[in-house]
Subunit: 393 residues, 2 copies
């Protein structure tokens, strides 16, 4: 019997001892156990000297910089502590309902990829109906672009409807977005030594953990602005991330082979061990589950993304953050954006209360959750990423 | 007579008392006077209490955060100090040749615009010969995208030729870029309070100063990757910035009306006072001046760029950095990229040594400089941004 008296802290529950994700509360670095936060600063003496400062910090930044050896040692020691029969001296559990989560790390560069073939094909069909849905480069490289790091926000932060230009009948018009959308994604938090030209085989050494992402998107703003240099204001107003980062080490049993591409890829993108991940995602729109995107269907893995991102000599540094792009699968109920799910608004979805939706209305709340297979039949959880839309200023 | 005995510290020279740009050396924050650096930490006692910590810092970050009132007070006091007949106690000049400049601030988000009509039209003709050179959105908004903050480097840093995918006859091939290019740009360093929806009339309150930028670009990588989400690895390997930031306050006399657009712009992009800037830029390729881009020809000003960047609710924060995009004018010798200057390599330029160039070769050095009109007939200088190309790893 563990000292942690919380029925949610069980190996058949998403936040049992197999998960142990990290976050930051008003008390600094904490680990999530079931439906409680365990602040680490008060139990810093339970860790080795090199970990003491890392767990006593106000953010995860020092831990991210410390790299894999520290991450592994910390996780191993935490696993001992949470499975012990007595609490470590100073150890106190705080119910999640009483916790105010902060963005757990300082986002350095944020890159958003586009690695779901189904998503890319759906968007291609909607935005460029007269062309082939997939552009020629897509099967040869993980397409990506830089997003705005300064507007990455933690789950629970309200999202104000953005204003901007959209196409009108007689030139552009300005106003609140009328096609506000989500993108259900999976994000990767980087750490360890600054490096470039990271091979796929070393990518995991630079990834601390995994969070769910909602890359809010104003489709009308995006459609008008995005050529030729890509999305800008249609995306830069807010990107929400889960408050608790699931360590990559918890996902050993979630690894799967990604779906095959129709062509061979260049050697720097070949993986010796596959880094596809079998996350089952759920997207809720005002309490109605509207989509279940399968992350195992992604064509490019995070290891390939990181190898690509650094192959030109660009560095990866602690705090760099990259996301998978919208997760969509082959079926309609797999679609990770409302643009796809409602086919650009033409096929509205009906929520539990009987109301219909094509894009987001003010007051709407979106919650994304996920689980993955863990060791011994357990389930590894990913903290929800939730946000409510507020009316434009 | 001033105590600063340096013939380059004269009002008819670019780095006379009318300029006073800020940089960071091994000794922390410094100001450039002629061909010398004046480190500020040793003379911190010459400033008011609220400035002491700012000028004693290791980087310009605290000064950027302090905002316009502190910037104005510091510049006014520095102007007194450098015009005095006796040196402030502890004041020592270091010849620039002995100074090792560092990147003067921590780059938060980096945005690259695309605000030269001549550049956009030239690139359109080269990359999309069958379409109208200017896309429909271009005259309605300052097109821009996010770049990589982590690979912004200070002038003098060598640039290793990037490797990546480019289009081949039978699918993509991988190797060092064979079309390595420059982009001569002007960059704006942000500071002051975090803000969003910044009107054009308040933009200057959020801009600390101006630097020259070389946005190195691998055209072969870019051409293959950039659809549909914009440039990524073709740009992310290095962006060089000048070592000394010219304060915006030094440019009061450089303000000009930008060229008219063919249509009215939406109200949030209208300027009550024009923020075009009359910088005369020179681009040297191995000691041969190959181009003289006129910044006054830019269609969108930094105030419009900042208003646009934040109109969707995105914040601007200290350390945010945005660049104008390649500066090109109507004439061939105004072109700020070699892609345009050599018309995609078809019209090579001849350097002083008789050699010909279409794109950059290993060992080539590019230096960009600029001046602007200052008060009383003086000339305001912008520190050079220089870089030498090294062979791919």
């Amino acid at each position: 019997m563990t000292w942690i008296e919380d029925p949610a802290f069980a190996s058949d529950r998403p936040f049992g001892p197999q998960t142990l994700p990290y976050g930051v509360t008003g008390d600094g670095v904490a680990v999530r156990v079931g439906d409680h936060a365990l602040p680490l600063r008060p139990i810093a003496n339970s860790f080795s000297e090199r970990l003491t400062d890392l767990v006593s910090a106000d953010t995860l930044d020092p831990l991210l910089a410390a790299g894999r050896p520290a991450w592994s040692e910390l996780r191993a020691r935490l696993t001992e502590l949470v499975n012990d029969t007595v609490a470590p001296r100073g150890g106190t559990l705080v119910p999640l309902a009483e916790v105010s989560n902060r963005l757990p790390f300082t986002v350095a560069d944020y890159v958003d990829f586009y690695c779901s073939r189904h998503h890319a094909e759906n968007v291609g069909r909607i935005f460029r109906p007269n062309d082939a849905p997939l552009l020629p480069n897509w099967t040869h490289l993980p397409v990506g672009y830089h997003g705005r790091a300064g507007t990455v926000v933690v789950s629970g932060t309200d999202v104000v409807r953005p204003k901007g230009q959209r196409k009108g009948e007689h030139g552009p018009v300005f106003g609140p977005s009328v096609r506000l959308d989500i993108e259900a994604e999976v994000g990767f938090v980087c750490g360890g030594p600054v490096a470039s030209q990271v091979p796929t085989s070393a990518a995991a050494e630079h990834v601390f953990g995994v969070v769910l992402v909602n890359d809010w998107s104003a489709r009308d703003i995006q459609a008008w602005e995005y050529q030729p240099l890509g999305p800008f204001l249609g995306k830069s107003f807010a990107t929400s991330v889960g408050a608790w980062i699931t360590p990559l080490e918890a996902l050993a049993l979630a690894r799967v082979e990604p779906p095959a591409l129709p062509n061979e890829v260049l050697p720097y993108l070949v993986e010796d061990q596959p880094w596809g991940l079998d996350l089952s995602i759920e997207v809720s729109w005002n309490d109605t589950v509207v989509s279940e995107p399968p992350f195992a269907q992604m064509s490019w893995t995070f290891a390939q993304q990181l190898a690509h991102m650094t192959v030109n000599g660009a560095t990866v540094r602690p705090g760099d953050f990259f996301a998978s792009g919208t997760v969509s699968g082959p079926e309609k109920w797999h679609r990770g954006s409302f643009l796809e799910l409602t086919w650009s608004g033409k096929e509205p979805v009906t929520l539990k209360d009987g109301s219909q939706r094509s894009f987001l209305e003010d007051g709407d709340t979106v919650v994304i959750t996920a689980t993955a297979p863990g060791e011994d039949g357990s389930v590894v959880g990913f903290a929800e990423v939730a946000g409510t839309v507020l009316a434009a200023d």
